[in-house]
Symmetry: C2
Subunit: 509 residues, 2 copies
């Protein structure tokens, strides 16, 4: 079978990923080191994600704000672990003017900033400073804030969506009167993320706590949702951090409690980013390009009029527009269907393949013969080929198609989730109890070995460092300790001590 992309997942997964990003018009290199241009189709997915996640964030009582892009160095120096964790990868603004010199532009030495400014890699410090102004009494708590913003982390090796110097995200920041409330908030937002990933993106992520060595710099606990890509690697798709009182001490977030005593607040932060789009591509894409879950597809139905430069063209186009209008009266997932008529002056079969690569769930072709037959030709992006290996285009009575479109989209959404879940479950391996077995598994585990689930004794300090070192040698890491997993049995394969929980280990993006 010939496919629409020049490289298959099996041949070269990394090259396949780049091909999908490019051929599906999702994003492209910008010419600016490590920064990408997110094209309309890719940004359309992000807009869908934003709309749904924003709703969930607001429904859980959070309000949106906007805080400065620039953070003075002095803010950053206050939380020691935090600066340690980020200092290696921040863009620093040192001047506020350019001047011409020898026919080129240079930073003007006379416009050097007294205190350099960091372009935010994350906003705990600047939002914490605002929280310290806003918090006088227990009545002011909780503070439940979210921000949609761009952030910059100077990455040495970048890959579109997955790891870019600048990326888009939302970052939630909250402050609470008690430890219990802050822990509850951390887990509540983890669950919001989990549900969003599963329900909207059809990503069967696993939520759990990260090991100590993988915590956010300055956090007391970090939780993540981990998604398995088709190459068996893990993608950390969102994180939620319980920050204890660390940032409250550093930023002086204090309040008078109900007893009149001055107390430090307990804070949390949590975020997901455009990285998730990379997860969608690597979970649902196939050798013909992207397959978008209907909930986040910018267009759910794309209608291609079969134009032939004849007198019939106008009628065909009008017919397609009427069909689109009719479909938009239908609703799936509680919203009106998103439908586009592609009337561009390009050969229809080229259009079809361009759309196959972009991955809207349904591609509908309508020509004069279809109109005469009262039918439409429907291509399901999730079942592109029939048993005969040919493109499966089903002639469907127009009325039936319109009436059934919403149900079809819901079926496709559920199907993508089921497929990804089955693949994930088939690729999480139990029964490894020694480091030797682990080593052998990843040496002989085939091209896409997946994850292993092992007993874990939660070592700390030097013992943990040793484990990290061992894993690093195998290019592995602990992804998380899944929430609600069955109780651990036996011993930790690293320390030999009794296991207190199970953790997932895998290669990761």
């Amino acid at each position: 079978m010939k496919h629409a992309l020049s490289v298959t997942r099996e041949q070269d997964f990394a090259a396949w990923y780049q091909a999908v990003v490019s051929e599906a018009d999702m994003a492209e290199e910008s010419g600016v080191r490590g920064c990408m241009v997110i094209r309309p189709w890719g940004y359309g997915v992000w807009e869908r994600m934003q709309a749904l996640l924003d709703k969930a964030i607001k429904e859980t009582g959070h309000e949106n704000c906007y805080f400065p892009l620039f953070i003075p160095l002095s803010y950053f120096a206050k939380e020691a672990e935090h600066v340690e964790g980020f200092a290696k990868e921040m863009a620093v603004v040192t001047h506020h003017r350019l001047k011409a010199e020898n026919g080129t532009l240079v930073p003007d030495p006379e416009a050097k900033l007294e205190e350099p400014l960091v372009v935010r890699p994350t906003s705990e410090t600047v939002i914490g400073t605002a929280f310290s102004r806003w918090t006088q009494s227990w009545r002011d708590l909780p503070l439940l804030i979210n921000q949609w913003a761009n952030v910059v982390r100077w990455e040495m090796r970048t890959r579109m969506f997955l790891r870019t110097t600048e990326f888009l995200w939302q970052e939630g920041h909250t402050a609470h009167a008690t430890r219990g409330e802050a822990v509850e908030e951390t887990l509540k937002m983890l669950e919001v993320y989990r549900r969003f990933a599963v329900d909207a993106l059809a990503l069967p992520v696993i939520a759990g706590e990260k090991p100590e060595n993988e915590r956010f710099p300055g956090a007391d606990a970090t939780y993540s949702i981990e998604a398995m890509m088709q190459d068996g690697k893990a993608l950390q798709a969102g994180t939620s951090h319980f920050l204890g009182q660390n940032f409250a001490h550093a930023q002086n977030i204090r309040f008078q409690d109900r007893d009149g005593e001055l107390a430090y607040a307990w804070t949390t932060s949590w975020g997901v980013s455009t990285r998730m789009i990379g997860g969608v591509i690597m979970t649902h894409g196939d050798d013909d390009g992207l397959r978008l879950p209907p909930v986040v597809a910018p267009q759910q139905v794309v209608i291609i009029p079969m134009l032939r430069d004849t007198e019939e063209d106008d009628a065909v186009l009008a017919h397609c527009r009427a069909l689109a209008a009719e479909l938009r009266q239908q609703s799936a997932f509680g919203e009106a269907l998103r439908v586009q008529v592609d009337a561009k002056d390009i050969k229809a079969s080229n259009k079809r393949w361009a759309w196959v690569k972009k991955g809207p769930p349904l591609i509908v072709e309508v020509g004069p013969r279809d109109i005469a037959n009262g039918a439409v030709s429907v291509v399901r992006r999730d079942r592109l080929y029939g048993d005969n290996g040919k493109l499966a285009s089903a002639a469907t009575p127009r009325g039936d198609f319109v009436a059934g479109a919403a149900a079809l989209l819901e079926e496709i959404q559920a199907g993508l989730l089921a497929e990804a879940t089955a693949r994930r479950d088939a690729n999480i391996h139990d029964g490894i109890t020694t480091v030797e077995q682990l080593t052998a598994f990843y040496e002989k585990g085939g091209k896409f070995p997946g994850w292993v689930s092992v007993g874990w004794s939660r070592p700390t300090g030097a013992a943990l460092e040793k484990v990290v070192e061992t894993l690093k040698g195998l290019r592995l890491s602990i992804r998380n300790a899944p929430t609600g997993a069955a109780p651990a049995e036996g011993n930790c394969l690293f320390t030999g001590e009794p296991a207190v929980e199970r953790v997932l280990i895998g290669r990761a993006y």
Copy 2:
């Protein structure tokens, strides 16, 4: 009459503005030079503006994208006028890492960038570079792109919303095959802005072309919408630029036309920003705080339960929540009503004044007595005081209020626009025909002199420079030449030559 703010517009307009921004919880100083924190109420207005404008931008065929925050110096140097116009006020990133030195953090000299990066002040250069990649044939045109983003211009004197180092905006960028199409696009988006300002923000802006000296750096023509603030000053609330082929030449945006010839594209750009929020405050605010047009108010009805720490409280709260749910079933301006119940543990009368300052159109108070009477007490923010000088709170049967709420909001929206339009019209003065009269007018024109409309011969070169100099001496500027104004009569008061159009002159933010 005692007012909720400590300073009136008449006493000190600038101090009044700062008081509204602060007391209405719209924004605050961030501690980062020239950057503000936009608080939930202020950001809520921006979200409303975004939603409406985004819809209008998409309905006119544009798609959203995202381009890099950072622009290499070399991109910037290509359009000579453009760099001249912006080089004085840009943040420059020179390092990508910090290091600790003498107990403090400094940019790491070993992590100096080979080519410094500018934090985008506007994105013509980086988007133009993408356009040059995307444009091969006339079939690829027009390119109709929009971006919602933060931008940075290093301002020496900043004022919240009106002029901040970092601000939020949308920037549209388009490329066309012909001059005519690009001009049409420029004017179409100007009209989108004008309608949005009038219909959504109740700002009776005047659309027109800026004089040559006020053009965007690199543009062939710049159009603006100008709003009159209550102090008679002008606020440029949005701009639309016809860029000719200047950026196409600089960024090499070329295409093969229908005849197979290689041609340069014609481009446009247009933007509005968070600055508009400052315009809303200075147009509609009064001495008690902000008055928000219902279309963009984050909440249109705020319900205050009159809680008294008694057993009745639960019933009152339940009653308020039921009322809110009922109101949300109503719709105004084609959308469900936005209603909030303020159940915070604060004295009800304090709440009332906090909300008066924040300016939702309707504030409703409900206590046990109201419930017994089947009524609610309604305060209209646009008519806060009765003839007796006291707060006008009207007891209204609950059913009548619910049924009439949408119409009341529409009346308030129309009323704010009518009030602002009448004030604008009363403060545009005709009949000035000499520079002496102009000087005298602004010297003796009272505290808030408004604008004058004068004949203009469109001088260029040295003659224009002389006019600009004269106006500068009077702290005045030409705002624009209103589109569709009556034909000019008589002579230009600056050059003595026959007037070809009328222009508006005023002081400006």
